[in-house]
Symmetry: C2
Subunit: 187 residues, 2 copies
């Protein structure tokens, strides 16, 4: 599971002339969400795993966004920054991801809220955690769409090339994967 999530976002699109900024920003490791349920071990251990994996994911996401900007700036000619809905939603998702991590850390790890406050924050932590996950997935789908649209309108690949069909299939599978993660987390 975690393998899929860390590795999938680093796969270049199977395009002959990929101009994708890599490693691209990715809050996809979010299914770290499920370590609470899938990992064996004591509660504090699983909590530390949940917190750390999300921490690594946050760093990767920030590094990814920075490298996307650098990729744009260092291209010749430079490519404009932040003109697309993909990039706007991507930035929004990463910002909320960072806020969620800080809120989770402060509430559940250190200094830790008092029991009753912790209990009333928990459902919101879960709600926002899953919401951010879903919009991370939506951002990634939009990234794939935008990349393909560029390649198709630029006639780099044809509309029905196996690259495009393959990427669309991956997109639909990613949706199925996201639905399973959410279902597993709430059931």
């Amino acid at each position: 599971m975690l393998f899929t999530c860390f590795v999938a976002p680093s796969l270049p699109l199977p395009s002959p002339s990929s101009t994708l900024p890599l490693p691209f920003p990715s809050p996809l490791p979010l299914p770290a969400i499920l370590v609470y349920r899938t990992l064996p071990g004591t509660k504090p251990f699983r909590k530390l795993a949940h917190l750390s994996i999300h921490g690594v994911a946050l760093i990767l996401a920030i590094v990814g966004v920075i490298s996307a900007f650098r990729f744009h700036d260092l291209s010749t000619p430079p490519i404009d920054n932040l003109y697309s809905l993909h990039s706007w939603l991507g930035i929004t998702t990463v910002v909320f991801f960072g806020l969620q991590w800080i809120a989770g850390f402060v509430s559940f790890w250190y200094p830790r809220l008092q029991t009753s406050l912790r209990a009333s924050y928990l459902p919101w932590h879960v709600f926002w955690g899953l919401t951010i996950f879903v919009f991370g997935v939506a951002t990634a789908l939009m990234g794939v769409l935008e990349k393909l649209t560029f390649l198709q309108t630029g006639s780099v690949i044809s509309r029905f090339s196996s690259e495009a069909m393959w990427a669309n299939t991956l997109g639909v599978l990613l949706v199925a994967f996201a639905i399973s993660v959410v279902a597993a987390a709430i059931c």
Copy 2:
């Protein structure tokens, strides 16, 4: 609320040369979801409202998809069908929307399942209803992105045109709206 949902999907993008198939396919009226909570009246009345509004939404979505295909076929030269991730996810969403409607109708309206089966299906009805809603929103966001990408790469609008900034802002607001609908439905 319902006003927003029925009207927003019919708004053309504020583009000088919109080539958008209109009315475009839209399961956005899905916040019909909330009529159970927001409408006054007896339970059977609200159930009928929930069922009918979703029925109308389903018909609109099917008409929309058909008109998108017709728009492609009747263009000169004809535009390819179903090459994009947007269209794949759009079709998938509409199919699941149709299945959800049939399953809801058969289980809760006519012939109606026995009480215990109905009770065990209900949480899945809610889960899939919200899931389909979220992926309808994701499809619409991808539609906006694809449309803008076409206009930008074709130099019809500039990357930072007010049309593009306006559409991106609408996209981010749509996300906020979707999050509110889901929160209202589960809280």
